[in-house]
Structures are given as C-alpha cells and as structure tokens.
Amino acid sequence: MKRKRVQAAMMVAAVIVAAVFPLVVSNAAIDSVAIFTLMYVAMASAWNILGGFTGYVSLGHASFFGVGAYAFTILCHVWHVPGGWITFAMLPVAGVVAALIAIPFGWVALRTRKHTFVVITIAYLFIFQLLAYNLTGLTNGSAGLGSPIPSWTGSFFNIPFFYVALALALIVIAVAAWIRSSRLGLHLLAIRDDEDRALGLGIKTGRLKLSAFVIAALFIAMAGALYAYYITYVYPPFAMNPLDDLAMALMSFTGGVGTIAGPIIGALLVEPSQQYFTVAFQSGLNLVTYGGLFLVVILLIPRGLWPTLRDFVASRQSRQRVPQAPAAETSVLSSEGGGQ
C-alpha cells in the first residue's frame, strides 16, 4: 500500500512538472524536443500494451504511426478542416482509421508466434512504406502532402502541441494502467507467460492479442497524426521510419518492458538523447552513439531500469527487516516447481 502511495505522489509531481514546463522554458528548440518526447511517451506506452503485456514484440507498429499521419492529413484535405484548435479533434479520427486498418493486419500477424511474428511486423513496415510511395493518388508519393497549418504562430506555436501531446501521453498511460489492473491485463500477461496454457485455461487468446494489437495501433496512430500536424508535412520515409519501431521497443526495454513506468522512463531518457546526438554529431556518428548506448543498456540491464531499481530498493528494505528470499519474477500462471 505504501509503495502505491509513493508511486501516486511521484506521478502527480511528474504531471505538475510537465504542466508548467513550457511556461518556464521558453526556448522553442527545447520545447520541440519536449513535444517529441511526450509523443514517444505515448507511443512507447501504447507499444508496451502489446509488446510488454502479451510478449508479442512488434517491430511494425511504426507503420500505424504513418497511417495515422496520412489519415489525418488526407481527411483534413477531404473535409476541408482548417488549421486551428478544431483540427486536434481529427486525432482520434485518424486513430480509429488506423485501428480499423490494423485489424486485418493484426489478424494475419498474430496467426504466428514469437519470432515469426516479429519478422512479419518488420515486413508490415515496408508494406506500408511501399504503399505510401506508390499510392500516389492518395499520398502524392514521395513528394508528400502538406497538413493544415496551425492558425497560431511565433513563441506560442509550441504551446498547444505540448499540451495535446501531454494529454495524449496521460490518456495512454491511464489506459495502460487500467488494462494492467483489469482482467484483460491479467489475461494478456497469461499469454506472455505461456500462451498454450492460457488457451487451455479457456482464455480467448486470439481475440485478446488482437485487441492489444489494435489498441496499440490506435494510440500510436494518434501520435502520428499529431506529428503530421506539428511538422505540417508528411512524406513516406519520415512517416514510416524503421527507427521509430526500434525506438518504441528500445524505450520500453530501457525503462522496463511490461511495466507502466518503464516505457515512460525509457522515452524520457532515450528521445532527448537521440535528438541531442542528431544535432551534436555528424551523420553516422550519431547512429554509432545511439546504437552503442542502446547495446550497453540492453546488455547490462536486460530487465530495464525500473524493475532493476525497484528490486534493488525492495531488497534493501527487506534486508533491514526480516531476511527473506527476494521475490521471484511475478508469474501469473503459477509455475509448479518450474526449473528445479
């Protein structure tokens, strides 16, 4: 109970810090990094609902980021939505479009298990990228499309985007936390532990996996739509970027995959540093630094920062009280004498 309260307090503090951030820091470049970071908090948290809870690591959900970006831009053109506050209402619409598209793709991919699934999702990214290049009537091909231009300018420009990104991130985190604590979350974790046994216990694994796949696509697409609006332009290599796929997985794993706090921490650390490397180093060296740092994190703390830190604190506390064996990894399906 005490830990719950501490976590809630930390959460509230983080939100307050985030809420006043753009009012205190008025540097446009830094605010821009903050907007991207919040977007990635949302994306990594959404990705984690599928990749973390069910164990189905998708390296193709960046395609739904692109689908969201294109759906937003195209629908704004078709419906003549002007740039302004009302335009943000198009984010959920773009999200729903992507979610609908995600259903058949998820269905096909989820027919396969673990490693084949990963490969299929990698292929998806390239399918969508090719579609973006080739469906010129819809996407204007490699020339790309312009999104509505916001009606506000100058030093105020970043502010609305910041708060919308913050709201999106909070919504995704809330949804992820709700799923995690609900029966749905329990069943998703059961799939991760042992899918066949979950199936044997009567859990409708197919439908649940697909739900997680589509929910992740929905929110990632909303982030994509926000991105398209913010940079006022969308074209294939930026909308469907394999590095975004890696980024979402990397952030979740850095922070602690399968936890609520993990992807948030991961995004807060990774995105600003990546932005920094891109600016500070020549092309090539930024990749070396990014990839190298990534390797160090994955190999040294494979479980991620948050669980490692939490266990460290927990083991120190328990050492002060009664000496007891450190709690094993939480397993939903009780492992009967596993690995004796």
């Binding site: 064996a325 450190p326 094993a328 009967e336 004498g337 690995g339 004796q340």
Partner: protein, 240 residues
C-alpha cells in the same frame, strides 16, 4: 565418489540448492527422491556442469568440479541423460550413437565403440538407419542411455528415466539401468516414481526444498517413517 559440500546453486534470482551436502558411494545405484521443486534435477545439472555453484564445493573423487566446463566433466567420465529428449531427431539412430563419442579424436576408437554399443543394445541394429525422431519415447530413452557407452562412463546421471513411459518400456529401462549398475558403473538417478526408484537402488537420498532430508541404504530410506509424511501419505507407506 561424488560429494557435495554445502552447495548453493540457483538460476539468477534465488537459490534452488540451499547449502546441500551429500555423498554418492562408488559402485552404488543412488536414487534421489523428494517432492516437486526440491531441487533434484538441479543436483544433476550441477554435476554435469550445466549450472555453476554459487557457493560450496562439488568433488568427484578428490577432484573439484567447480567451474569445469561440461566437456571437461564429460572427459572425466560423468555422463548425463537429461529429463527431456536429448537425441537429435533429424539424424539417424546410428549417427546419434556416433555423436556420443564426439569428444574422442580417434576415429578407429569411435568405430570400435559404436560396434560395442550395438552389440550391447541389439535393438539398435534393426533401427540403425532410421531417424531418431521416429522412434517411440521409450526407445529414444534407451538410445540416449546406450549413447553414454560411447565414452567410458564412471558415473551416469539419469534424470527421471521413467517419465512418460508405458509400463513395459518402463520395466525395460529400469532393468537396463540395474544391469549397467551390476557391471560396475555408478548411477545417480532422480526418480519421480519413488517406490520403483528406491527398489532398484542400493542407496536413497531424500531432498526437500534444496537441502538433504535423509540419506542411507535403500531399505533404510524406504522404511523411514519420516518420508511417508514428506509425501503426504503417498506411495511410500506401501513399500513396506
């Protein structure tokens, strides 16, 4: 012949063996029994070098095994037949047998040993060219067992040899184990089927939650009232 001194072993987080000490007599057929999760298989995996002790010493004769690679341990004459299938399903039975002598450099010696193994386990001859994966579970277990004799085993570690076998194959496997033991090979066996296991054994070891609970000759162990309780009134009481 084999001694554990205060050994602690675990997978990452917590220890499975918590300060285990035990001895296996040379020439014995020792059977380890105990409830699920007691760490029985972990003992075998520690001996064969698949797991490294975090604390304590494992002695084979007078040689410490700590830190030796699985291959080094194999060269000393300790062979393990694990619980799960350990044949190569897409290779023929004969190829599987031959691979048992993988660490031998002398091809002629390998040829001679293959011949000796086939002579000893005649059923292999009929199935030599078939893929190992096409044999029944019991036959596969016997081939795994036969494969040990490609090297000169001093100590054979058997992990639940009866698992998943029908009664007839079960008897066959146990008879083979007893026969090999009579010929002078020390056997350390983990067996879920407590009664049958202890009956063919010369010595018994009872484990519980990673520690030694009881050890002695098979009769001593079988007749000890404490283990009846340990198995919650299981099959042991019938052994009298």
């Amino acid at each position: 012949m084999l001694t554990f001194q205060n050994v602690c072993v675990g997978y990452g987080g917590s220890d499975i063996l918590k300060g285990l000490s035990l001895t296996v007599e040379e020439g014995s057929l020792t059977c380890i029994v105990g409830p699920n999760g007691a760490g029985k298989s972990t003992v075998l995996r520690t001996v064969s070098g698949l797991l490294k002790p975090r604390k304590g010493t494992v002695l084979f004769g007078n040689t410490p095994l700590n830190g030796a690679t699985p291959r080094r341990i194999l060269e000393m004459g300790i062979l393990q037949v694990p619980q799960e299938r350990s044949l190569f399903p897409q290779l023929s039975v004969l190829e599987n047998i031959r691979l048992g002598g993988f660490i031998l450099k002398d091809r002629k010696l390998v040829d001679a040993r293959v011949e000796a193994v086939v002579e000893r386990f005649p059923f292999i001859k009929d199935r030599a060219r078939e893929l190992a994966g096409s044999l029944s579970g019991g036959q596969q277990k016997l081939v795994e067992f036969a494969r040990c004799f490609m090297l000169e085993p001093k100590l054979i570690l058997l992990d639940e040899p009866s698992m998943g076998l029908d009664p007839q194959t079960f008897r066959q496997v146990f008879e083979t184990v007893a026969e090999v033991h009579r010929e002078g090979c020390t056997v350390l066996m983990v067996e879920q089927n407590t009664k049958s296991g202890l009956q063919i054994a010369t010595h018994g070891i009872v484990m519980e939650s990673g520690t030694l609970r009881l050890s002695g000759t098979n009769v001593e162990v079988l007749q000890n009232p404490a283990i009846g309780q340990l198995f919650l009134g299981g099959t042991l009481s019938m052994a009298k």
